[in-house]
């Protein structure tokens, strides 16, 4: 009998502890973590990497199940998630397209329809030219673009999406007409890169994380003219000057974060934002993040929501100048 006492005591203590935080939310079933795209892309990587870190570090009792729902640049997944009002067991990965796609195409849902949970990390845009190009810095390229509006700048995504906005915003900040950029959309970052190496386009705009591999080779065929961050980046991109350093007052964030269905209960939002904050502090995440070339940029639910609104204002301004704003939205 005497053996039982401590166990009973322990059980009682843990019971009190649980009772103490009874109001707090905890997932009661596995959490569907949706990547609104096919396997392999940025959203998919975010979903899989964070699910894995949460699992391996034992940050949550329930499983985080990565799910791919591709289609319409995200629109198919968004329309499904928008129907799960108040659901506390669905999350999805998000980045600038949640703002850009609704502005340019007819996705019925935009960031206002969902619950912001947390911004996790960010990447920046960079402009690349062939190694033997005459352009030494970003101003050389911008001057040439002013002189010859036909100068082709390639990117890996459709007009009005991330790469195009990054380049048009840069041109705008430098005093050029944003719509004068001859942006050539390729079917992906890799496709754009081969066309740059082959001399078919003059420059390419892409994510810095994506470009690291190409730039760090000494005998590489391409070099970067600048990055859209406000401070220089680390690692092999350390030599690349920011646009601000070169006299163009312009920054552009390719942020990544997590959102939930409309009207997610407040205690669930609090739970998830804290969970992701905890995840960002683990060594395991740091390891994965460095491999992917991402930079931590945490914001909690409220702050992230305000950030999204300001991004929406900025993007619709640029899209308006480009004449790409969808009239219906």
């Amino acid at each position: 009998m005497s053996m039982r006492t401590p166990i009973t005591l322990l059980a009682a203590t843990s019971l009190t502890l649980t009772a103490g935080v009874a109001s707090a939310f905890e997932p009661s079933e596995s959490v569907e973590f949706i990547a609104p795209a096919n396997p392999g892309g940025g959203w998919d990587t975010l979903v899989r990497t964070s699910s894995r870190v949460i699992q391996e570090e034992g940050l949550a009792d329930e499983e985080f199940a990565p799910i791919n729902t591709p289609g319409g640049g995200g629109a198919v997944a968004w329309s499904q998630i928008a129907k799960r009002e108040g659901d506390a067991h669905t999350l999805f990965a998000t980045s600038p397209p949640i703002i850009l796609v609704p502005l340019t195409e007819s996705s019925r849902y935009d960031h206002n329809d969902f619950t912001p949970i947390a911004r996790l990390s960010t990447d920046y845009a960079t402009v690349l030219v062939a190694d033997d190009s005459d352009y030494e810095d970003i101003n050389d390229l911008l001057d040439a673009m002013e002189e010859d509006p036909g100068l082709s700048v390639g990117g890996g995504s459709a007009p009005g999406s991330m790469d195009h906005i990054a380049m048009a915003g840069l041109a705008d900040a430098a005093g050029l007409d944003a719509s004068s950029v001859n942006y050539v959309p390729f079917s992906g970052g890799g496709d754009a890169m081969t066309n740059l190496m082959g001399g078919h386009v003059e420059a390419v705009v892409t994510g810095a994380g994506e470009a690291v591999g190409q730039i760090e080779d000494d005998d590489s065929d391409v070099r970067a003219l600048g990055v859209s961050s406000s401070d220089r980046l680390g690692g092999s991109l350390g030599d690349v000057a920011t646009f601000e350093e070169q006299g163009v007052d312009y920054t552009f964030d390719i942020w990544r974060g997590v959102m939930g269905p409309p009207d997610m209960p407040e205690d669930a939002v609090t739970y998830y934002q804290d969970l992701f904050k905890e995840m960002l502090e683990t060594d395991r995440w740091a390891e994965e993040r460095d491999k992917l070339g991402w930079i931590d940029a945490y914001q909690g639910s409220e702050e992230f929501g305000e950030f999204l609104d300001s991004q929406a204002d900025e993007f619709s301004g640029i899209l308006g100048e480009l004449g790409l704003l969808d009239e219906e939205s």
Partner: protein, 500 residues
């Protein structure tokens, strides 16, 4: 003999006991994945990334590459047995493979596919080993104008794929191009022919159309014709053995198509598909018995099968030497390598020769495994044809539906599949060939986008297609390959009239 030394070094890595296991697991999983439509190598490799995470990078790539070429190797099975191509690179295999199976020669068709895949795979690894760095220059010399010309050349295969009526073949091709237009236009972000449906935003997947107009249409056709439900036990699978004269016929075909496939595979884009179609129509023109292509000619199986496997290996050239992916699958592979801390590119050969040469050596091994693994499996898999017809037809139906549903878990796709099945049945009843439609669907999208990109870069100047030597050459070959048969036909007609 630098290459030989390097290869020996590579074998040193590939032949370590663990890596042999990885090669085997990779190609085995790949074969199975290839046999099931809808479960493509892309998702399989993406799902493997976490597994390879803690592995040595060369082992990880050996495993994932094995899945990729294993899937292409096994992809021919459903094309031959069920007329249900699972990936676009194996569509051309069904043209003669399925008629062979219907004649009771399924075993032989599968064996030829296996041998040709082996030849294509092995010859192209030799190519990869010897000329990869040189070829990377060729890969980047292809800009939008060159791609447009290459797609035009690919489309000329419509002529040789239209068996009886060229007009009907062309109509079928135009319908294919029209289907390729559905979805968001990548150049302007405008929706085209989506009728406001979110399901059509990404266009209509190749698999939906292929399974609809080939497999489902075949099921409908058999139902229409079958009527009373008489059970005709199908003839046996037939022998796997090839006669000496058959071997002699196939070897040059496989050799030529491997070379063609390898070079088209090096070009980023739809390498395996274009390679297999070009290989097929090239052999059809070269063969003395070209008019029996489409009715179960063994060369019609050998050509696309060696070409698509060679193209698969070829697609590693831009990945390993430039660090740029040439296809969806190699894009996922690139992502996996980056996560493992390896940056493919010009410096990889010097920094990580173990990865580069280890993978190349493992491909020789993998192809041998695939052959040894596939040959004994053939009689087992081909047994599916001995099922009673009612069962077989239901099986094909389920097979197609699972494949299509697996694309995006959407009921909408199943309805589309049904619609294309009915369209395919109609085409069949009225004598419209299905092959030109599927070819045009696959190539049409790239052709249009390349043309518009080229014009956007040139500022709207059409001369861009003629000024570039590569583009001009390809266009001339395209014109010749269309005009040639027409002129020959006209001359024959004139002779016949004179004689008569």
């Amino acid at each position: 003999m630098d290459a030989l030394n390097n290869l020996m070094y590579g074998f040193g890595i590939a032949l370590s006991p663990m890596n042999i296991v990885y090669v085997f697991c990779g190609v085995f999983a790949g074969t199975i994945i290839g046999m099931l439509p809808g479960l493509g190598p892309i998702s399989a490799i993406a799902l493997m990334i976490p597994i390879t995470f803690s592995m040595d990078p060369s082992s990880g790539l050996i495993l994932m590459a094995g899945v990729y070429y294993g899937a292409v190797f096994g992809g021919s099975t459903s094309s031959i047995l069920l007329n249900a191509p699972g990936i676009s690179g194996t569509v051309a295999t069904s043209f003669d493979g399925y008629p062979m199976a219907r004649k009771g020669l399924a075993g032989k068709a599968l064996a030829i596919a296996a041998y040709s895949s082996f030849i294509g795979g092995t010859l192209s690894v030799i190519g990869l080993m010897l000329v990869a760095p040189l070829l990377s220059k060729v890969a980047i010399s292809f800009g939008p104008a060159e791609y447009f010309a290459l797609m035009v050349l690919g489309l000329t295969a419509v002529v040789s794929l239209s068996d009886k009526s060229l007009i009907k073949g062309l109509i079928s091709g135009v319908v294919g191009i029209m289907v390729s237009l559905v979805g968001i236009d990548h150049q302007t972000s405008t929706e085209r022919f989506t009728f406001g449906s979110a399901h059509l935003l990404d266009g209509i997947d190749f698999l939906v159309v292929a399974l609809g107009i080939f497999a489902l249409a075949e099921v409908f056709y058999m139902l229409l014709r079958g009527g009373g439900g008489k059970e005709q036990p199908r003839s046996a699978i037939g022998s796997l053995k090839l006669s000496r004269s058959e071997t002699r016929q196939i070897l040059p075909v496989a050799g030529r198509s491997s070379i063609l496939g390898f070079f088209t595979g090096v070009l980023p884009g739809a390498g395996a598909t274009i390679g297999s179609f070009l290989g097929y129509s090239m052999e059809k023109r070269l063969a003395k018995d070209g008019d029996t292509f489409g009715q179960g000619n063994i060369k019609g199986v050998a050509a696309p099968e060696s070409a698509n496997n060679a193209a698969c290996t070829g697609s590693f050239v831009p990945l390993l030497t430039l660090g740029v992916p040439g296809s969806g699958t190699t894009a996922v592979l690139l992502g996996a390598l980056l996560v493992m801390g390896i940056t493919p590119g010009p410096a990889m050969l010097e920094d990580r020769p173990d990865v580069f040469w280890g993978v190349i050596a493992s491909m020789y091994l993998g192809n041998i495994f695939l052959l040894v693994l596939n040959l004994p499996l053939i009689p087992l898999i081909a047994k599916i044809l001995e099922l009673p017809r009612a069962l077989l037809l239901s099986l094909i139906l389920i097979f197609c539906m699972i494949g299509v549903y697996g694309l995006a878990f959407s009921i909408y796709d199943l309805l589309l599949l049904l619609a294309f099945g009915l369209l395919g049945l109609g085409m069949r009843l009225f004598g419209f060939p299905a092959a030109p439609m599927i070819l045009a669907l696959i190539l049409g999208g790239i052709m249009e986008q390349s043309m518009r990109r080229a014009l956007q870069i040139s500022g709207g100047d059409w001369m861009v297609f003629i000024e570039q030597p590569i583009s001009l050459t390809l266009l001339i070959i395209a014109v010749l390959s269309v005009a040639g048969p027409l002129v020959r036909k006209a001359v024959k007609g004139a002779q016949a009239r004179q004689a008569g």
